[in-house]
């Protein structure tokens, strides 16, 4: 049964993630008063990338990016099959480190700056993601996604601070303004293309597909806060993503220093308050 969920995630997540990306681009265009591309545009893009000549700067970048895709898919599959949340978090970290290594493999200054900024991003959001796993444990008594999802009370009431902190970080994870410092989507540019500068053709296609996997996984993570009622969870996750699109269009990119400081300040204060309150007043 659990394996079935994992397989379903690996097959369906790229389809769902690609559709979300397509709707995202359409809505972004509408917010800017444009027509926007077709909803299936992300699939056309990846299809096109697979048709392109495969230009490789350093041979090792192929393996790093492939490993990045595999580990993103693995951590998502582990999550949806109800596995250990801590393992999911660390597998995700490993995946991003592999992407950074792939960017470092090419000796290009643009790709280097992108890789360094990706590391800064990791440093910024990683404490929050681990604290979120800790928060789920303190609230439900288990690190297993199956148990957290089956928790009878609404977790959003027990973990509001963790929820807001995680939402603050989501902007960075989805590569959206104001925190899209390593690379971004759409027609925005960030020091050429940041971490993806030296990837082209099918390698870039793999980075895109990995991002679709990650989007679905992240929305799944937010689902847990509302898991006691799937209908509310679906609406909540949709509203969260719409809010992200709005924030993306309403804000300008900030400097990396501010991004790091503000994320640490907001997430650490909110989640610490939340965890302390949970210890003393509620939880188990």
């Amino acid at each position: 049964m659990n394996l079935l969920y994992a397989v379903a995630f690996i097959i369906l997540a790229p389809l769902v993630g690609g559709l979300i990306a397509g709707v995202d681009r359409k809505l972004t265009a509408r917010m800017q008063g444009r027509m926007g591309p077709p909803v299936l545009q992300p699939f056309y893009d990846v299809g096109k990338l697979l048709e392109k000549e495969h230009v490789v700067v350093a041979l090792s970048q192929n393996y790093f990016v492939l490993a990045y895709l595999i580990f993103i898919a693995f951590s998502g599959a582990l999550f949806f099959s109800g596995g250990d949340l801590l393992l999911v978090v660390f597998a995700l970290t490993l995946a991003h480190v592999l992407l950074v290594l792939g960017a470092y493999a090419a000796t290009s200054p643009y790709s280097f700056i992108g890789a360094e900024r990706e590391l800064i991003q990791l440093m910024a959001y990683e404490p929050m993601v681990i604290l979120a796993a800790a928060g789920f444990y303190i609230a439900t008594g288990s690190f297993y996604v199956t148990d957290i999802a089956a928790f009878p009370r609404p977790l959003i009431v027990l973990l509001p601070g963790i929820f807001i902190g995680l939402f603050y970080v989501l902007t960075m994870k989805l590569r959206k303004s104001p925190f899209d410092i390593a690379t971004s989507h759409h027609a925005h540019q960030e020091i050429v293309k940041g971490v993806t500068t030296e990837f082209s053709g099918s390698t870039l296609g793999m980075v895109e597909v990995a991002h679709w996997y990650e989007t679905v996984f992240l929305l799944g993570l937010f689902w847990l806060f509302f898991a006691w009622s799937p209908a509310i969870a679906l609406i909540a996750v949709a509203i969260l993503y719409l809010a992200e699109i709005f924030i993306d269009n309403a804000t300008a990119r900030v400097k990396w220093g501010f991004a790091l400081r503000s994320i640490w300040a907001v997430t650490l204060v909110l989640s610490a308050l939340n965890l302390v309150a949970l210890q003393y007043f509620g939880g188990l």
Binding site: R34, M35, G36, P37, K48, L50, K52, A187, F199, S200
Partner: protein, 150 residues
């Protein structure tokens, strides 16, 4: 499958243009013309680009830059020369430092004259380039080199 025509990403380089054509290129991205309707994205990275949109004429300082950008783009790729300067050197062709149009340095697939080119013409030129791009992809798939004339 022909996804190539549905997702052309461009890189725009300003040779020694007066900025007239470049303003018109940017106008294509605004809500009025919105070329993202056709999946066109301005990437700013030659390694991600399919269409090299170039304005202005070739001079001694930019010929290496133009060739470098062109060579970094993965096949299949097309070059669109925008504006009369990129097509032939325009009014500057007799200048001591100007060599002429873009075809002095790289193979140009579509010429779009005008001073400056209108956004409608640019979109027309890029759509024409999509046909060439598709041809090159088909040629590449059959095992032949993407460029017909080598």
């Amino acid at each position: 499958m022909a996804y190539m025509k549905r997702s052309p990403w461009i890189i725009h380089y300003d040779g020694s243009s007066c900025n007239g054509c470049d303003i018109e290129v940017l106008a294509c991205l605004t809500p009025l013309y919105d070329v993202e309707r056709f999946g066109i994205i301005n990437t700013g990275n030659p390694k991600h680009a399919d269409i090299f949109v170039v304005t202005g004429s070739v001079n001694e300082q930019n010929r290496e830059v133009i060739r470098n950008i062109y060579e970094q783009m993965p096949q299949p790729k097309v070059v669109v020369a925008l504006g009369i300067c990129a097509c032939s050197g325009g009014v500057f062709r007799e200048c001591y430092n100007v060599e002429g149009g873009m075809d002095k340095v790289i193979p140009v697939d579509v010429y779009v004259p005008g001073c400056p080119v209108r956004p409608e013409q640019i979109i027309d030129g890029v759509v024409k380039a999509l046909g060439v791009l598709e041809e090159k992809r088909a040629r590449m798939k059959s095992g032949a080199p993407a460029e017909a004339t080598v």
